[in-house]
Symmetry: D2
Subunit: 324 residues, 4 copies
């Protein structure tokens, strides 16, 4: 006879708005199926340390609207070593945890895959504000981050118009231009700088000057942090070149990671949390929940970590048409 | 040789946040392809009256973030008659408009289909805050409306917990429970009332009482306006039955139609606006843009108006599991 | 030698955003002066029941931005009786509480005064979203409520203009028109209905018709719940009279009580919390903190409960000039 | 017989949310008193160029909720010279403008005083997001800026707690610590750095380490741009010293100047706009409207520009008590 399931749930890596909604969905779906749930604090670090606590329906009350993650998170160096993974498995066995739900980004899925190779039943749930995880159309937290950027840029627009100014906004995205490109479309940015498309400060200055000549009352430049051009340098350069607008700079930083999750992220996280538990019940594991055309699908963790997500260049070109 | 295109664009029916983003995308995509665009005021009513004006890149500057529609909208009774449609076509011919983009809801797509039957090249773009249009996963404005409801309910939660109260929130949705169900998931509602699932006040009172007994500090009840149960009546009834919580009522009304569009709605509207013009350029018409698994697709207007969108009951059941 | 102080703190009556900021300021100011603090749950009800718990710096961590009150609140009938007050004093003595901070509205100040008459050292802090407490320019929570109303009406404006509509918004204010008048100014309302100024539906309809004739694209009507005119009745009547605009209704309800407190409310609450403890240290009691010209002042509780705050009619007239 | 008044209105210097509300109040109050109003574009620069346009009630429709200023603004070097002022007066005479309302900051009040010395009837209205104008308790725009900072820091809090992090937030305030101190109170910052209180990176690091030891899950450090310590340098230094928290940086920039004005700013701006026109009607000029204990008062422009506003150190000390 199959063992009764006891699910451990953890969040790992950079936190993303909506992770709490996913935790809540995992816990309540499990409990409604008479499955016990243990919360694991501080990600894989807590897994190694056996930092577990039993969760009931009330443990996840009032967290749906909170940013961050009540289970805390960390990046664990110890877990990258076989010895760390061995210790983690031992602690899981001691506590009777025989299935694990891991909510996190690309690095977290690597850890999940490593455990699945050691016969642990793992399901991953993708959480990432810059949507850089292969295998899902969108990750938990991206929609909230996009709205946060957008609201910041909206605030700049009126003041930009009053003064004939250019604004430089640095967004997250060390390896991926996704957030910057999407923000470019929804904010009506004149210029978008991303890691995938190398450019020069002179080209950017020319684009800004062109916007000025076309009669724009302001220019919005969105710079992904991994674009290769430093925001501070660019601000200085554009001012030196005197393109018509004076330049001002905003670095959003971790504001993009925070805030109450949007409806979209709460819904996505809830759906993925429900499906993760249902999948475990049906005997599936070694996979990540992914939003696909037909709904929530299950993607082998090996595929997730073996592929690199690419930014859709169609959107990049759209920013140019729409900013005319 | 084919005639050069001149596109007319109008918004019609109930307005939805993101319509301006769609108008902007239509205008700028057209202009970047050297196509002229005429804006039509007040929907089909303006089409009959020849209330047209030429649009350039600056006509749509600074509107991306605005709710409502700069082209205004109306519900036109005259256009439901053949004589109204005939007058509209005459005005279009006089102004040289040989293609039309119609942004609106189900009723607007009916009008678009009627024109397409009279050899007018029409493309529809779906805008509807309660997502009741067949042929697209989601319509422009729905995401913003969902977030508006959610933010209102989030405000109720803290005060609800402080006082041990039940809150009744009436949302839009005369024929469709979509908004109410989705809001139910993202707000963590204990009870959701929709047109598709008949229920009684006694059943609702029992569900609220059950939440009280389970130790909930408050209860959230979302009532779609077309559920068959009047919000005011329900409030009185629950208070009479004394279920543990005192009841308070909120009727959101047209707040759900307003506000600056979310990132999701701006992106969806921009994509649909771009694709609508590209489709006309490629000779396609008589269709509506629809968000499908593979991206923006084109759905025959006849199919759009011949089918009824149904609420996904899987989501309805999810509200019950997640609210435990 | 004077007894060492042990302060009890409670919130009572209707909750208001910023109450948590006041609790946090009381606790941390007390602790930094080596005074013990006991939190009292559920207002005067908890005082009677001896529902007390010791508070330290971490007890009030992370609550500054939360609406509602972590100490919960209630309206206590028992405390209105001498026997209830007697039991409360007994419980205070048993727990060693020899000074009390009461955060709440007019009714709560009545209770505070009653205790002060029985030789309990009490300081009141005014919290009320409709600013109906005499003795302070403004109470904690009013600024947040005003912004909540304003943001709701802002959402209505774009959609109103798109459709040529009149909007009826019902705000709180059973006895006081303060919120409605102030909201009228900051929302640019065409008509404001308050308890202090009796009016008829015909006068209102005439004002709306006048706005239509002057070329306004919409009309905003704000109705305090105690104005004497029911919102639902008014909506029907204006539509019957056909004044040019179609009418839509919003009842905000307890949304006005919720939400994260504004900067103004957090600042006001923090200042009042600090000053309340400092006053007790200096031997003052039987007073309420009040925002006055020179800063935070102390108003005898007897004066607070013996006077009625009146709406400033200058503001009422300002709504008429500004809405032209 | 006295000449009929014709009022010119301009905004100048850095824009601030609420300036449009002030313009609207000036225009509508003037018109309701049968006074003509000319809008002047681009501040003193437009005054010199005669860039004037007649304004009616509809000119200021729908601007109450908009950030920025519809009259645009600039910093005019020409106007600092007597020749520029002479040209401006000539243009005013040609257009029949015999009274001027100037909405702006300290520099703008200098210009207003210069004109008043040349027999022009001027009234100033203070607009400044960092509240650095002497003669008014608070200037238009400060409340909105404070809320913008607060909402940004609120977003950081959850993510900070999830990760045990310290956050550095750079706010405006080149010469004044007002915004930073007030933000410190309302955001619950552990450390506030302002121009008025010199400090060292080592002291800051010690304060952060102390917060870590006291059990805080995160630390918030607010740095006014004129504090003398560069935000980028401080971030590096704290990370080098290893105080327990990892550090992340946010530079808000002009986001603080933007956004829809809060209720407080709309109300203050409306009151000042109304009073400015009433004062001109009563023969007063050469003054600035100031919020004082008794309401809106009139402060001689000479006093305004001769005094320096100082930050209230009581608030600075309050940040230390409240952050325990």
């Amino acid at each position: 006879m199959a063992n009764k399931l006891t699910i451990g749930v953890l969040s790992s890596g950079g936190d993303a708005p909506g992770m709490n909604a996913a935790i809540r969905a995992v816990v309540r779906t499990a409990l409604s199926n008479n499955i016990d749930v243990l919360g694991i604090n501080n990600g894989y670090e807590g897994l190694i340390n056996g930092d577990f606590h039993s969760m009931n329906e009330r443990s996840v009350g009032g967290i749906l609207q909170r940013g961050g993650t009540i289970l805390l998170t960390s990046r664990s160096k110890r877990f990258m070593e076989p010895s760390g993974q061995r210790d983690a498995i031992r602690k899981m066995n001691e506590a009777g945890i025989n299935a694990l739900v891991v909510i996190g980004g690309e690095g977290s899925m690597n850890g999940a895959y490593a455990l699945s190779q050691k016969d642990i039943k793992v399901i991953g749930i993708p959480g990432s504000i810059d949507n850089d995880i292969w295998g899902t159309n969108i990750a938990i937290g991206t929609d909230t981050a996009m709205n946060t950027i957008m609201e910041a840029v909206d605030k700049l627009r009126d003041t930009a118009s009053s003064h004939q100014r250019a604004f430089l906004i640095e967004t997250m995205g060390r390896n991926s231009g996704y957030l910057a490109v999407m923000a470019g479309i929804v904010c009506g940015a004149e210029v978008v700088l991303i890691p995938e498309v190398p450019t020069t400060t002179d080209e950017i200055a020319a684009a800004v000057e062109d916007a000025y000549k076309r009669g724009k009352t302001h220019a919005i430049i969105i710079n992904a942090e991994g674009s290769g051009i430093r925001t501070t340098d660019l601000a200085t350069r554009i001012d030196d070149l005197d393109v018509g607008f004076k330049t001002r700079m905003t670095i959003l930083g971790h504001i993009q990671r925070g805030g109450s999750p949007t409806a979209y992220d709460r819904l996505l996280a809830s759906r993925m949390g429900v499906k993760a538990v249902e999948a475990l019940l049906e005997g599936q594991h070694g996979v990540m929940t992914g939003l696909k055309s037909k709904g929530i699908d299950f993607i082998p963790l090996l595929d997730v970590i073996s592929n690199k997500r690419k930014v859709n260049m169609e959107y990049y070109h759209m920013t140019k048409v729409l900013a005319r």
